[in-house]
């Protein structure tokens, strides 16, 4: 059985929701303060950043490609926005400048992959390094601390006890869900990921679809970076590093396989919640982030095994039905 076939089994949304429930139940029993309102809100705050960046990653993976540069784009946009704020530039303008810098990364990715037909691994991997390096250079490697409370409201504030960050993330998620299921652009992403030649033969400008998707991915990553800065109240030039791993994991757990053209952003949102919950719970149990990566890896494999077994069982039943 090929990897693609195994990944194919990842698709079942309901199973993933059970997974989330099981994880919550597990930590609810094992970690003392896990099932408190405070902590739940904490998880949602954590998840909001991951959801936003994962949405872009999912679009890139739906395209049959990947965007390795999202993590360092988060860092870069975060520090650029931070520097602007410290220079006294207004919040909306600072955010716009940050996002503009982020969109340059997406522009390079999209142009080289979409129009120049470069390999997407090489391009986004290189940009991962370039964006990271830029973030370190412009900050001299130092963290930019402390921002106005009005800026911090984005990632850390609350409206009637609900974190603003999660409201923003949900609004963005709804927009992306709508985009991917109800617009031509969304449909074209699936078509390009399903089979680029078929898409081209059907009159779709595949280069443009790829170009736009990568810009969107970078914009989402950039905004996630700003949310993160606001949430932790400092702009660290390596804050986003590792987020590409979590974003890919959220996508895979959410049922969008690497071969493109199937799956969707809905699953990714649940996938991101699973990862945020897991990391929070493991922290409470005293397990450090390095160990957490191992566990996330294991969980991806576990889910795949579960789904393969499930599919085998179904195939058996289907086979018997055919015979009857």
């Amino acid at each position: 059985m090929t990897y693609a076939k195994i990944i194919k089994q990842l698709k079942k949304l309901p199973g993933i929701i059970y997974g989330l429930v099981i994880i919550i139940a597990f930590f609810g029993v094992t970690a003392d303060y896990f099932l408190t309102f405070m902590n739940m809100m904490n998880i949602l705050k954590q998840a909001s950043v991951l959801i936003v960046v994962s949405l872009g990653m999912t679009l890139a993976i739906l395209l049959g490609k990947i965007d390795m540069s999202v993590g360092s784009t988060m860092s870069l946009v975060g520090v650029v926005t931070g520097i602007c704020l410290h220079k006294g530039i207004s919040i909306p303008l600072a955010i716009c400048i940050g996002m503009a810098v982020g969109s340059i990364i997406g522009f390079i990715n999209g142009y080289l992959i979409g129009y120049r037909k470069f390999d997407y691994w090489i391009v986004t991997f290189s940009n991962m390094g370039i964006a990271q390096s830029l973030a370190l250079v412009i900050t001299n490697g130092a963290t930019i601390p402390g921002f106005d409370s009005s800026f911090r409201f984005l990632g850390d504030g609350q409206i009637y006890g609900v974190p603003v960050g999660i409201l923003i993330a949900m609004a963005i998620a709804l927009a992306i869900i709508y985009l991917s299921y109800n617009t031509k652009f969304g449909s074209n992403i699936y078509a390009v990921g399903g089979n680029e030649q078929v898409a081209r033969y059907s009159g779709i400008d595949t280069s443009k679809v790829i170009f736009k998707t990568y810009i969107l991915s970078s914009l989402l990553a950039g905004f996630a970076g700003i949310l993160l800065v606001s949430k932790v109240n400092s702009a660290n030039p390596i804050a986003g590093s590792g987020y590409e791993f979590d974003a890919i994991a959220a996508t895979l757990i959410g049922g969008t396989p690497f071969d493109g053209g199937r799956g969707g952003v809905l699953g990714t949102i649940i996938g991101a919640c699973i990862i945020a919950t897991l990391r929070n719970g493991l922290n409470m149990l005293g397990l450090t982030p390095p160990i957490q990566f191992t566990l996330v890896g294991f969980i991806i494999i576990l889910i795949i095994i579960f789904d393969v077994l499930n599919e085998k069982y179904k195939a058996k039943k289907g086979g018997a039905a055919n015979e009857a």
């Binding site: 031509k184 449909s187 074209n188 078509a191 030649q197 081209r200 009159g203 018997a320």
Partner: protein, 505 residues
């Protein structure tokens, strides 16, 4: 059909790196006719049609539609002019539903929230259901394409082409390659219906019988050049073949029937749930045993089970009288079996690798016992088979993907000859291979049988099955329902068994 010319291609040329694919080719198509485009693989038919449908750009030449010169620079241009195409390979997205595939790239839209353009799904699905009805497919437009059978996929392709609002020209590139007799009849009745509506059809096919049935006029291309246009009714097939290959093929199926040797492969009560049941047959040395049946009758599944690629639930397989059980293909290869799969490009060859690398692929241990490869030895071996099998290639160092279908098949064959395979399974040995190369493959198969190999041949090409086989098994719904010797094989009886009607003549 009228004599009014709707489409004219004049002096079309197209150069690809290394080859002149089209050299000053002209074609005129009348309103409401079925215009057959005939030529061997590589003759330029598909290239010409890809230019007409906007996939490729022509280097020179002119295209006139309804007497006016038109520029076709993209698929959208062609579609706007009413030119639709059904490509040779499936152009469907497996994980999207029928409607999403049919309306791909031209989905109906409406104004959504905030005035943005969004998909009008309600219109899309209702339009799709209507379309499916007119094409005569009884399917829900929300079914995912991956869940459809091959013939159903083909019908969806056709529906996709017919979905163009102002369809004038419909190009069909080998639409029947994967269809069964009944489905072909259905397709032909659709073609006739659209013909009567004044739509012109450009029909690419290798199958002479079909051309006779459905075609009005035939244009023949050879090596990228225009050879001529003739009316179907007044041109015998032998003349068409002569135009195509530049020579006459008098005897396509050449077979020396000899007294076969001992049983090389015997299959007893082989069953696999949901695929096939109680399959019994044998193949003797020196025999070609044909397997005929509809797509999905279980022939390929039986072959894959014997070869160790698929599992089976019950039954026995004997090679040279010895019971064997193959858990994986490598064991079958050790037992001197070879499989020439239906899907050459994905299962028979590693198309990105060189010809010589493919030839030694299954014999690495034998050729290089120390486990260290040697370029020179590979070349020597490959050169030997290039001569022996008459493979048309510049040398042994070409990437297999660049060879034509017939020559690719010969490379697969070379691979198995090098392993000294005694039992060879040919699954659709000549699918997508042009007439000239077909004759060569048949000759090779005849030679192999003469040299004492046991050959199991799965084929949906009835003349091929009858012309080549010592014995013929017919499968229907996973079971062998009839066996014929080559003397008493008749097309009608075989087809009757294959469609489940039994011996009702």
């Amino acid at each position: 059909m009228s004599d009014q010319i709707i489409l004219q291609l004049k002096g079309i040329s197209k150069q690809f790196p290394g080859v002149k694919a089209l050299d000053n080719v002209s074609l005129d198509v009348r309103k409401g006719e079925v215009h057959v485009l005939l030529g061997e693989n590589g003759a330029g038919k598909s290239t010409l049609m890809k230019i007409l449908s906007g996939v490729y750009k022509k280097d020179s030449g002119k295209i006139f539609l309804d007497g006016k010169e038109v520029e076709i620079n993209s698929v959208n241009d062609a579609e706007n002019l009413g030119i639709g195409i059904i490509h040779q390979e499936f152009n469907l997205l497996p994980h999207r539903d029928i409607a999403q595939n049919i309306f791909l790239g031209k989905e109906p839209t409406k104004r959504g929230p905030l005035g943005v353009k969004v998909l009008d799904k309600a219109t899309m699905y209702s339009k799709c259901n209507e379309l499916l009805k007119t094409v005569g497919i009884d399917l829900d437009s929300r079914i995912l394409v991956k869940d459809l059978g091959i013939a159903q996929k083909q019908m969806v392709e056709i529906a996709k082409a017919l979905s163009l609002a102002n369809l004038k020209i419909l190009i069909m590139d080998e639409p029947t390659a994967t269809l069964t007799k009944g489905e072909i009849d259905k397709l032909f009745s659709i073609i006739r219906k659209y013909k009567s509506m004044g739509i012109s059809i450009i029909y690419i096919s290798h199958r002479m019988e079909e051309i006779q049935v459905i075609g009005d006029r035939v244009t023949v291309l050879r090596d990228g050049k225009y050879i001529g246009t003739v009316p179907v009714k007044e041109t015998p097939p032998s003349e068409l073949i002569r135009m195509m290959v530049g020579r006459e093929i008098t005897n396509l199926y050449k077979r020396d029937y000899n007294e076969p040797g001992p049983e090389a492969l015997k299959v007893c009560n082989l069953s696999s749930r949901g695929k096939f049941k109680d399959v019994n047959f044998s193949v003797r040395r020196g025999e070609i045993v044909g397997f005929y049946g509809l797509v999905g009758a279980g022939r390929t599944e039986v072959a894959k089970a014997i070869f160790g690629e698929d599992k089976y639930d019950a039954g026995e397989i004997l090679i040279n009288g010895k019971k064997v059980k193959h858990h994986m293909p490598s064991q079958a290869v050790q037992n001197k079996m070879g499989l020439l799969p239906e899907d050459r490009r994905d299962e028979g060859l590693i198309t990105k690798m060189l010809l010589k690398q493919n030839v030694v692929q299954a014999s690495l241990r034998k050729v290089f016992p120390k486990g260290i490869l040697n370029n020179k030895v590979e070349s020597q071996i490959a050169t030997k088979y290039i001569t022996k099998l008459n493979i048309a290639t510049p040398d042994e160092n070409v990437v297999v993907a660049s060879l034509s279908g017939g020559n690719q098949q010969k490379v697969v064959l070379a691979k198995w000859l090098l392993t000294d395979s005694e039992v060879l399974i040919f699954d659709e040995p000549t699918r997508g291979i042009d007439v000239g190369a077909k004759a060569e493959i048949y000759e090779l198969m005849n030679d192999l049988a003469k040299s004492g190999k046991a050959i199991m041949m799965i084929s949906s090409d009835l003349p091929e099955v009858i012309g080549l086989s010592d014995r013929i098994y017919v499968m229907y719904q996973g079971k062998i329902v009839a066996e014929f010797s080559h003397e008493n094989a008749s097309q009608e009886r075989i087809v009757n068994f294959a469609i489940g009607r039994g011996d009702t003549l």
